[in-house]
């Protein structure tokens, strides 16, 4: 048996200092949308690479996306998420700029 007396999940949550799931589920839609773009660029273009060979300048499209375009899209996604979350947090009025959840000592 790997674990001891209390396999009950309510008893376990005592040890969690913060329950991030609560805060994060609000933005599920945003996350799903960004993840859909992420999957389309990586797995989508990867899977259909042979059919997406039309040229963009000197590059075949699928080669360019896999070599460079994908990386650029990922950067936009990461910054977009960052920006959107900051806006949400400011709207919730929990202090401008500073994050509410992870208050930390210096």
């Amino acid at each position: 048996m790997p674990t001891a007396a209390t396999p009950d999940s309510d008893a376990e949550r005592v040890g969690v200092p913060l329950d991030p799931a609560l805060a994060d589920l609000h933005h599920l839609g945003l996350k799903l949308a960004l993840l859909a773009v992420w999957a389309a660029v990586s797995f989508g273009v990867g899977y259909f690479a042979a059919d997406l060979q039309f040229s963009v300048g000197p590059w075949p499209f699928s080669y360019w996306v896999a070599a460079q375009g994908g990386v650029l899209v990922f950067i936009v996604l990461a910054w977009g998420y960052c920006w959107a979350m900051q806006r949400f947090e400011r709207q919730q009025g929990m202090g401008a700029g500073a994050a509410p959840e992870g208050e930390s000592h210096g």
Binding site: P2, T3, A4, T6, P7, D8, S9, A11, E12, V14, G15, V16, P17, L18, P20, A21, D24, L25, K31, L34, L35, W38, V41, S42, F43, G46, Y47, A49, A50, Q53, G57, P58, W59, P60, S62, Y63, A66, A67, Q68, G70, V71, F74, I75, L77, A78, W79, Y81, C82, M85, Q86, E89, G97, A98, A99, E101, G102, E103, S104, H105, G106
Partner: protein, 687 residues
């Protein structure tokens, strides 16, 4: 509120100031070396000076940042500004595999690699795409939990002993595989640059790593990595831009290399039709047949070869031939396999290699063709296409998930002040990584064009000197042999190892030797920075998560830090020992560790964060099943391990044709499924 903010501002401005001075100093140093080379400074000095001075600079930062305070040692006091943490993460992330091997892999594998060796652009997409998952799903909640290590997460979320123990084991396994690859890279660079033996090169580089991470922990490593990032970025961009300027008249390589792709495709068509290339292929086919004959009856063949070699020596002696020839012939006799098993292993390897090289273009797929085979061709062509595409997608999946689960990467986001800073820091990391990654496909294409248009067709008696120098480091890195005996280099006669391409790129492009020194220093920075982070992860996991479990052993925080430092030393030596065996190339080794990370951590972590129904039993099941299945698949396809395992454990063939490098493609989904089912089951039982 105002006071800490202004203190923070002055802290950042001080860092900016120091970093600016450092960059200016570095550029000044490179310029001085370039000037000294023109004044006649010998090549024997340039390499060692670059190596020594950069390692000393890192060590100085490491010694300056030394600490025994636990918060500083494990998470750098949680006050690294996001942009600098992004820079440090980029250096941490871009290992010897990214810096040294990745361009070479793109050169060799083109878009997607072959079905048997998937790769190519999957590495570029996978190692950047994973950060989207880290930014959105993983880093912010982990930062909010105020942890020290990754196994801490499993302790806090699930409680009990086993989740943490399994996580620590997974962290040690994937990080150790990874660190061995880094130290191999260090040895490669140091031995080429200073001319010392490979093993001594490893020890020299190891000294540099230890000075940083041994004394200072996370705080020292962070600032060392920032310094290393600057070196490795300059070391990559300078040769790429220079090559691009030479070939295309435009130093912006990532924007300009597109036109070379078309020219490479033209050259490939010419080479495919060339009669001389076909002669080379025929010569390799002949060698294949000879190998097959020898393997048909190993003892007789070995006996015959030995006899022939002895007769050759006799003949040379009786003719009073040149001493050099006799020495060479006796050396050949000595190099023969000692027994049957060795002979069989060697000839099987030869056969496989000759088979590979008897393919058109020396076994390299065409550079921009997405997958091997043809979706509208005959049946074998279609099957090959399917297999190639499936392996590409599977590898992409493993690399992305592996990125999201790599403990040494996730640990870096513990060091920023807030959750918002963690998100920003991931985005910064991606920017700093992209600065280099966007140039990697460019370098591969530029070098391929250079080789195809200049090296191919040159005469064997006028080969450039770098070929002999690199071939003497390790013949598996580079060999150019006149296979068809016409005195002219054909494309099929060149064999470049993936680990060579970047290090030799300045010489292939005819740049000054200073650039070679700089590139080597950059490769060293990449390997050392990653090794630092990995060693810290391993020693933390061993000491904090396995040895001192809560409430089991008593020790003050300072004692734990000291113990961690000594564990780090031991782990580093063990990794150096394994690396000295020179068992494998860098890239496959690293890719295997991504599969392990993907399967062990990601299912349990994502479910643990986003599903409240996940129980401790579920987490244990997810990790144990994921890790177990991945390791099983890796091991049963490893030829060395196959000999040791009882045959009942071995399953013949691959599952759905997926190569073992992507073992996580099975481990992660099955682990997630196991976690979900066991969670449901355990709640029902306890109710």
């Amino acid at each position: 509120m105002a006071d800490p903010a202004s203190a923070e501002r002055s802290y950042s401005s001080r860092i900016r100031h120091i970093l600016g001075l450092y960059v200016i100093g570095l550029i000044g140093f490179i310029a001085t070396m370039a000037w000294a080379e023109q004044q006649g400074l010998s090549r024997h000095w340039i390499g060692p000076i670059f190596l020594f001075l950069t390692v000393m600079a890192y060590a100085a930062i490491g010694v300056h940042g030394r600490t025994s305070d636990p918060a500083e040692y494990y998470v750098a006091g949680r006050r690294i500004p996001p942009i600098y943490n992004g820079m440090a993460t980029a250096a941490d992330w871009m290992s010897a595999a990214s810096f040294i091997s990745l361009s070479g892999a793109l050169y060799l594998q083109g878009f997607s690699g072959t079905p048997g060796a998937p790769g190519g652009l999957a590495y570029i997409l996978g190692w950047t795409g994973g950060f989207v998952l880290v930014a959105m799903l993983i880093a912010p909640p982990l930062r909010a939990m105020e942890l020290y290590t990754i196994p801490d997460f499993f302790q806090v979320r699930f409680g009990g002993r086993w989740p943490r123990i399994l996580a620590a084991l997974g962290a040690v396994l994937c990080s150790f595989t990874y660190v061995v690859a880094q130290i191999y890279g260090v040895g490669l660079i140091a031995s080429r640059l200073t001319g010392v033996q490979f093993e001594i090169g490893i020890m020299l580089g190891l000294g540099g790593v230890l000075l940083c991470s041994f004394l200072g922990g996370m705080r020292a490593i962070t600032w060392t990595q920032v310094a290393q990032y600057v070196v490795l970025l300059l070391a990559f961009l300078i040769p790429v831009s220079w090559l691009a300027y030479k070939q295309l008249g435009n130093p912006m390589a990532p924007l300009a290399y597109g036109q070379q792709l078309g020219k490479i495709a033209e050259r490939e068509s010419v080479l495919l039709a060339s009669a001389a290339e076909r002669q080379v292929i025929a010569a390799y086919e002949q060698r294949m047949r000879e190998d097959a004959e020898r393997l048909a009856d190993v003892p007789a063949a070995l006996e015959r070869e030995r006899r022939e070699a002895r007769e050759r020596i006799q003949l040379l002696r009786s003719r009073n031939a040149d001493v050099d020839l006799i020495v060479a012939a006796s050396r050949e006799l000595l190099a023969m396999p000692r027994d049957e098993a060795e002979a069989r292993a060697r000839w099987t390897r030869d056969l496989r290699e000759n088979q590979q090289r008897a393919q058109p273009l020396g076994g390299l797929p065409r550079h921009i063709q997405p997958f091997v085979g043809d979706p509208v061709g005959d049946e074998t062509q279609q099957a090959q296409y399917d297999l190639s595409r499936r392996n590409f997608i599977a590898l992409l999946f493993c690399l992305m998930l592996g990125t999201a689960g790599m403990p040494h990467l996730l640990m870096r986001y513990y060091t920023v002040p807030t959750v918002a800073a963690a998100r920003a820091s991931v985005a910064w990391s991606l920017v700093f990584i992209a600065l280099l990654y966007l140039s990697i496909p460019a370098l591969a294409a530029l070098v391929k064009f250079e080789v195809m248009s200049h090296l191919v067709g040159s005469r064997f008696d006028a080969l450039p000197s770098w070929i002999a120098q690199w071939a003497s480091v390790d013949s598996s890195l580079l060999s150019v042999q006149d296979v068809n005996g016409d005195g002219i280099v054909q494309f099929g006669e060149i064999r470049l190892g993936a680990d060579l391409l970047v290090l030799a790129a300045p010489e292939i492009g005819g740049l000054p030797y200073v650039v070679s020194g700089l590139v080597a220093a950059g490769g060293l920075a990449a390997a050392l920075s990653t090794a630092d982070g990995l060693l810290l992860t391993i020693s933390n996991a061993l000491v904090r998560d396995l040895y001192f479990q809560p409430g089991r052993r008593k020790a003050s925080p300072e004692q734990r830090v000291i113990l961690t430092k000594f564990t780090l030393l031991t782990v580093a030596l063990a990794a150096a020992f394994v690396a000295a065996l020179k068992s494998s190339e860098i890239l496959p080794l690293v890719a295997a560790s991504f599969s392990i990370a993907a399967a062990t951590f990601v299912p349990a972590m994502i479910l643990g964060i986003y599903w409240r129904g996940m129980t401790r039993h579920g987490a244990v099941a997810a990790m144990a099943v994921g890790l177990g299945l991945t390791l099983y698949y890796l091991v049963i396809h490893n030829p060395a391990a196959r000999a040791w395992l009882p045959s009942g454990l071995l399953v013949p063939g691959l599952w759905w044709g997926i190569e073992p490098i992507s073992a996580g493609a099975f481990g992660a989904p099955v682990g997630a499924l196991a976690g979900w089912l066991v969670s449901l089951l355990s709640r029902r039982v306890s109710r």
